[in-house]
C-alpha cells in the first residue's frame, strides 16, 4: 500500500489521485459520505494543531461510498495515510484558514456541524506551535 500523496506536506484533493470509477449516483446524498483528506483519525489526534487541520472545511470532501470506504477496492485500501506535515506547514494552512474565515466541519454524533475558528482557539494553536517549534 502506498501512502497518500501530499503537496507541501498537505494531502492533495481526491480528484488528483487515481481512484476506481463509482457505481453510485453522485447526486444522491445517501450515496455519499464524508472523507477527511488527512487521515487517519488516530494519527491526527495527537495534537490540537493536527486535529484542527483535519477538521478544516476544505480538508474534507464528500465521496461516493464505494470509492471511499466500502468494498474491496476503495481509497482506504489503495492508499495508506499521508505523511504527517511539519508544524510549520500545519500552522501555515491554519493561518490561511483563519485569514479567509474558513470554518471547521466537525462530526457531532450522526451529523456534521460547522464551527468558526475562534480567537481563543487560534491563540491556543499559536501557543502550541511555538512550543512545538
Amino acid at each position: 500500500m502506498i501512502s497518500y500523496p501530499t503537496r507541501r506536506g498537505l494531502a492533495i484533493p481526491t480528484c488528483e489521485v487515481d481512484l476506481p470509477p463509482t457505481h453510485l449516483n453522485w447526486e444522491n446524498p445517501n450515496h455519499l459520505n464524508n472523507h477527511h483528506l488527512e487521515f487517519s483519525r488516530r494519527m491526527f489526534s495527537h495534537s490540537m494543531m493536527l486535529q484542527t487541520l483535519r477538521d478544516l472545511e476544505f480538508m474534507q470532501e464528500m465521496l461516493p461510498m464505494d470509492i471511499h470506504n466500502m468494498g474491496k477496492h476503495n481509497l482506504h485500501t489503495i492508499y495508506g495515510p499521508p505523511a504527517l506535515p511539519t508544524p510549520r506547514q500545519v500552522m501555515d494552512r491554519i493561518t490561511d484558514a483563519w485569514d479567509t474565515d474558513e470554518r471547521l466541519h466537525i462530526s457531532n454524533g450522526r451529523t456534521y456541524e460547522y464551527k468558526p475558528i475562534t480567537h481563543a482557539l487560534y491563540k491556543q494553536l499559536k501557543r502550541e506551535y511555538w512550543q512545538a517549534k
Binding site: 468558526p116 475562534t118 480567537h119 481563543a120 482557539l121 491563540k123 501557543r127
Partner: protein, 135 residues
C-alpha cells in the same frame, strides 16, 4: 406538544449562559453581562462580568479550562475583545491580585559610570536647547 418544543415567537428565547458558584454566591455569565478579553500576553486574559451592581474580572490563572470557556463564549455570541496589551485598569487589577513583577537587576554603578551620570544630570539641568551647547 411540550413547552420545550413550542415555537411561539412571543416567547423570549433564553440565550446561552454559564454559571458558577463561589463562596455560596451564584454568578451567571450571559452575553449581556460578560465580556471576554484576550491579550498578546496570556496571563492578562480574563472574563469581565457583572454581578448585581458590580463588575468583576476572572483571570486565566483562576480557571483551569479558560480556553474552552472562552471558545464557548465566542461561539455563542458573547462580546470578545482582542487587544495587544491590557488596559490600565486590567493591568493594575492583575498585578494587585498576583503581585508585581520584580524589577530587573541593574549592574552596579562604577566610578566611571557615576561620572557619566553626573555629566548627564548637568546637561539636563543647564542645557535648554542645542544652541546652548555652542554658547
Amino acid at each position: 406538544m411540550t413547552e420545550k418544543h413550542t415555537n411561539d415567537p412571543n416567547k423570549k428565547r433564553e440565550g446561552p449562559r454559564l454559571s458558577f458558584e463561589f463562596e455560596g454566591t451564584r454568578f451567571e455569565l450571559r452575553p449581556d453581562n460578560s465580556h471576554v478579553y484576550l491579550h498578546e500576553e496570556d496571563r492578562y486574559d480574563h472574563i469581565f462580568f457583572k454581578h448585581e451592581a458590580d463588575w468583576y474580572r476572572m483571570f486565566r490563572a483562576q480557571m483551569a479550562n479558560f480556553d474552552s470557556i472562552a471558545e464557548f463564549m465566542e461561539i455563542n455570541g458573547y462580546p470578545v475583545h482582542v487587544q495587544d496589551a491590557p488596559m490600565q485598569q486590567d493591568f493594575e487589577a492583575y498585578h494587585k491580585a498576583y503581585g508585581w513583577d520584580p524589577l530587573p537587576e541593574l549592574e552596579p554603578i562604577t566610578p566611571r559610570r557615576e561620572k557619566q551620570i553626573q555629566f548627564g544630570m548637568y546637561i539636563l539641568d543647564h542645557v535648554q536647547s542645542v544652541e546652548d551647547l555652542w554658547a
